[in-house]
Amino acid sequence: MTSNTFGFGGVKKPASKPADMDDINKRIEEAAKLAPQPVEGDPEEDRSLRRAAESRGDTIRQSPLEVAKKVQPKGPTKQLSTRMSIQPYNRFVLLSQHLRCPYDRAIEVLMDAAGVDEDGIPTKPLRVD
């Protein structure tokens, strides 16, 4: 710990530069002089993978990601807040991430999947433990 008997300890000290900072600067300046080096088309391994997948009528990638857009609510809204145990909380948040939709939409998706009608009545048997 530095002493502060005379108040020097509180003085803002300049950043101490490592001894080889000149060398560091030189290295970055050299790298800055690099000219762009365009990459070629898709790498061969990518193309061959795609060809192999296509020959089997398969795809190697999912369809392009769609970024979730903020959905404007239709009509009036009400606040719903709740405390949950960690486990169902994690399940729900992860589900929303997988579905790439906000929590309110995820609740709607779950209710639709469970067959809950407009009056909140399940149209198919639901088990509540």
Binding site: I28, A32, V39, E45, L65
Partner: protein, 228 residues
């Protein structure tokens, strides 16, 4: 090239801060730098909208169908191309990793970050199998406190070292100047009267950039030797 991607399935792992700090260190020396922001969080795109005087070129892309074309275009425009990957794994991962000279995995020394950084390494190992060639990757210790190591941090770093996980020796330190930069400016533009440690952050980002350059040059030389 060089093409450098930053990946970690954990959000807030300092991916964007690391990439802006590195890109800024190069841009300060008038390097041509592009950053492709593929993260729907748009952290770097948002930063660029405010950091109007920065010469760093930022382009956004969230559609995997366009990523190869975009990398091709940016690599013909800029000498240094950085790619900020989404904070979750997506169909963009393999195409980007297939193009990157180096994948940086920023990681804070916390158990949660360590677990998710290990998962990021596992994803890259899967891509290695898919592509049939090694993928260069390095952990970047982020948001560490200079000259201070907690017990948890020591434990995590020991595990990384024992398992021969490659890591940058320079850390991206916790600095208020980095946080201020992320609001939408460059380190050099920050007002020293308002923020502490700007000079220290600049030195830190320069040291990190120099280590990155050394790593990338080694990787490219190795690739050339293997191709010859």
């Amino acid at each position: 090239m060089p093409i450098i991607a930053a990946f970690n399935s954990k959000g807030g792992s300092a991916k964007s801060t690391a990439l802006i700090a590195l890109a800024d260190a190069l841009a300060r020396r008038e390097a041509t730098v592009s950053v492709i922001d593929t993260d729907p969080q748009r952290t770097i795109a948002h930063w660029r909208e405010k950091a109007v005087s920065s010469p760093i070129r930022v382009v956004e892309e969230t559609n995997s169908a366009n990523i190869h074309r975009l990398i091709r275009e940016e690599s013909s425009r800029s000498a240094w191309v950085f790619i900020d990957m989404a904070g979750f794994t997506s169909d963009m991962r393999t195409p980007i990793i297939s193009r990157a000279d180096l994948v940086i995995i920023p990681m804070q020394p916390s158990p949660e970050d360590a677990r998710l950084a290990a998962a990021a390494f596992a994803y890259i190992a899967t891509d290695e199998e898919t592509l049939g060639r090694p993928i260069e990757r390095r952990v970047l210790w982020a948001r560490t406190t200079p000259n201070f190591v907690t017990r948890v941090e020591r434990k995590i770093r020991d595990e990384v070292e024992e398992n021969n996980i490659p890591a940058f020796t320079t850390h991206l330190h916790e600095r208020s100047a980095y946080k201020a930069m992320m609001v939408g400016t460059t380190l050099a533009e920050l007002d020293p009267a308002e923020y502490n440690g700007i000079d220290k952050a600049i030195i830190n980002s320069d040291l990190l950039a120099a280590e990155l350059i050394e790593n990338v040059m080694e990787i490219q030389n190795r690739k050339k030797e293997n191709a010859a």
